[in-house]
Amino acid sequence: MTEMLDLRGGPNGGDAVVGVDIGSIWTKAVFIRNGQVTNGALLRTGAVPEEAGETAVRDLLARHEVPRDEVGCVVATGYGRINLASARKSLPEITCVGRGAHALNPAVRTVIDIGGLDCKVVGLDPAGRALKFKRNDKCAAGTGRFIEKIAKILQLDLEQISQLSVKASGACSISSTCVVFAESEVVSALAKGFPYEDVIAGVNAAAAERVAQIVERLGTEGEVAMVGGMAKNRGFVAALETRLGVRFAPLPADPQYVEALGAALFAQELATGKEEMARR
């Protein structure tokens, strides 16, 4: 999975750097060498976050046949970022997601980042630095976990959910944002004979409503982009765009890797001793 983004001509041509995003469900890693950005495998974070992080780094380097000591720098982010032995630095998620989104589309001023556990809305300054943010409270409604749970009831995988969600003719009403209550609403909707497509559309609409409230509390400015695993759920993205009345700015990359990309870009700055990073 090699991607986009021409970084050639940067100050650090030959240095290989890695950004790892250890999320609550998935661990993602991005590798930059010779201006070329490569996404690593997605792997389940599991019970020991630092192990997932190390494996992600190791696999990526092995795949590119880069010896560990030729890696200029590793930067970790995400919920499991603490204690990653190979990381020179760990940075908060909002910093990395801002950096990644800005590199992909400098016009973006608001990033909606929905992962497995949380939903963050980050307001950026023109340089991609986080100005302000809002996050869901401890309830995981409207996040990836919510959709995963519903997929499980329907015995579908997430790709199927995404495909079906854009085929709905109507949305059945799911009013609960609590996963446990929503589960029983889904079961009863299915019993009433609603097609899967409409049930999924209802679930996406419920999740979008919850996220929209967080977005509205922060307020949006400029171009709005959506990143994180939930950005791959096309029905959800459409529901959120409709609810907010905006069209999300295109990002030329896999949305699930944007935070890791931001971490990798910071790793590059660290490796080349850029001033702002050195101060931190």
Binding site: P92, I94, D125, R129, L131, F133, R280
Partner: protein
């Protein structure tokens, strides 16, 4: 800091339960208080031992409190009942009476239940909720009547009158203590203070339990040590310039032992420099300014108000005025507003504080939590990211 004086406070605290036991077997009585509105000076002047019962942070204790209230009640109120049910905490176990001037309904209920289920003698003081609308009118007379009644009840309990002389001594002692705590908190205004806010905050808590005269002397030792540490000659020449973001933290009751948010702010790259908790700076912020019962009444009426009181003062909102002046005085970069779940008064004032602070260019993070550890990661992530935005703002200059 590593401090001999702070270590001494800890030693005295360890000794204190035993000491109280001995005093009680010699006939001295203990009066517990919950809120910061009980004039403890009167308890002290009666020769009784005032102990402030503001403990929290233990979800198992809360679960016991649920039997008397409900899971949908204030975690602190539930803790007050849970501790009494277990009755193994030396302070809760040793109270002969509980005095309380509840400003919220939940604490009023706690007091009723103490009497009903635990048979504890209660001394309820009514606090005039409308005082802040009309500071010089009936509220004052009403509160004076309450204090006269309270004084009488304490005299019965002690079996001796509270003489003017005794009251004067107690007020002077408490004011001296308040002045010392003020001086210690004042040090937090420095770029690099000689102690952490967390240490100053815990030092306030020590006063809830220790003998008040002994506590006052201990604070004197702490100040001497801290001020010596501030001496430029004693400064570490290798210490670089410090540019940590400066935080204010305030909100509802943050009880002794409710350390979740305290540990979180300690772990991040920021420095808490001031609080406005009823277990922190509000304990000592206003001095009495005189040594009569009237002056004492005025002191309690005009304290920086608890969130559960209405405070649209004729002269402006005293809470907002205090918070904004603290933010300036302590050069605050960001504010953490921390409320307990089910604490409506603090939760529904959140947006008001946010608007005022953001109008000063100071961002505010609001958090709602309780005593279960289930949201610890969540708080950590929220605070880390908040501090990060402050850090990025500083870089922008």
């Amino acid at each position: 800091m590593t401090s001999r004086a702070l270590a001494e406070v800890k030693i005295r605290l360890e000794r204190r339960p035993r000491e109280i036991e001995e005093l009680r077997s010699a006939g001295r009585k203990v009066v517990g208080t919950f809120c910061v509105y009980v004039p403890e000076e009167l308890i002290h002047a009666a020769g009784l031992i005032p102990i402030r019962l503001v403990k929290g942070g233990n979800p198992d204790v809360d679960a016991l409190g649920d039997h008397y209230l409900s899971t949908g009640s204030c975690p602190f109120a539930r803790a007050c009942l849970g501790y009494k049910e277990v009755n193994r905490d030396p302070y809760f176990a040793s109270v002969d009476a509980v005095a309380e001037a509840p400003t919220c309904l939940q604490m009023e209920r706690v007091l009723e239940l103490y009497h009903k289920y635990f048979g504890v003698e209660i001394l309820p003081i009514s606090f005039p909720r409308t005082y802040f609308y009309a500071p010089d009118a009936d509220g004052f007379r009403f509160f004076m009547d309450q204090l006269q009644w309270f004084k009488g009840r304490l005299e019965e309990l002690a079996g001796a009158p509270i003489t003017e002389e005794r009251l004067r001594e107690s007020i002077r002692l408490f004011d001296a203590t308040r002045e010392k705590l003020h001086r210690i908190y004042g040090l937090l205004r420095m770029d690099v203070p000689p102690l952490r806010w967390e240490e100053a905050f815990k030092l306030v808590h020590a006063g809830f339990y220790l003998d008040r005269r002994e506590y006052d002397a201990l604070l004197g030792d702490v100040i001497a040590e801290l001020e010596a540490a501030c001496d430029p000659a004693a400064a570490d020449p290798d210490a670089g310039p410090d540019s940590l973001p400066r935080l204010m933290i305030f909100g509802g009751c943050l009880a002794d032992g409710d350390d979740k948010i305290v540990e979180v702010v300690k772990s991040v790259n920021a420095r808490v420099v001031i609080d406005d908790f009823c277990t922190g700076s509000r304990v000592f912020w206003n001095l009495t300014g005189g040594d009569t019962l009237e002056e004492l009444a005025k002191r309690y009426l005009t304290k920086v108000p608890c969130g559960s009181l209405p405070y649209p003062h004729r002269e402006g909102d005293p809470k907002i005025a205090h918070i904004t002046s603290l933010a300036k005085e302590y050069r605050v970069d960001g504010v953490i507003y921390y409320a307990l779940r089910c604490c409506d008064p603090y939760i529904f004032k959140t947006e008001r504080f946010r608007r005022v602070l953001e109008g000063m260019g100071i961002p505010m993070l609001d958090l709602v939590s309780e005593y279960t550890p289930s949201d610890l990661d969540e708080l950590q992530i929220q605070v880390e990211n908040f501090v990060e935005t402050l850090e990025l703002a500083r870089m922008r200059g």
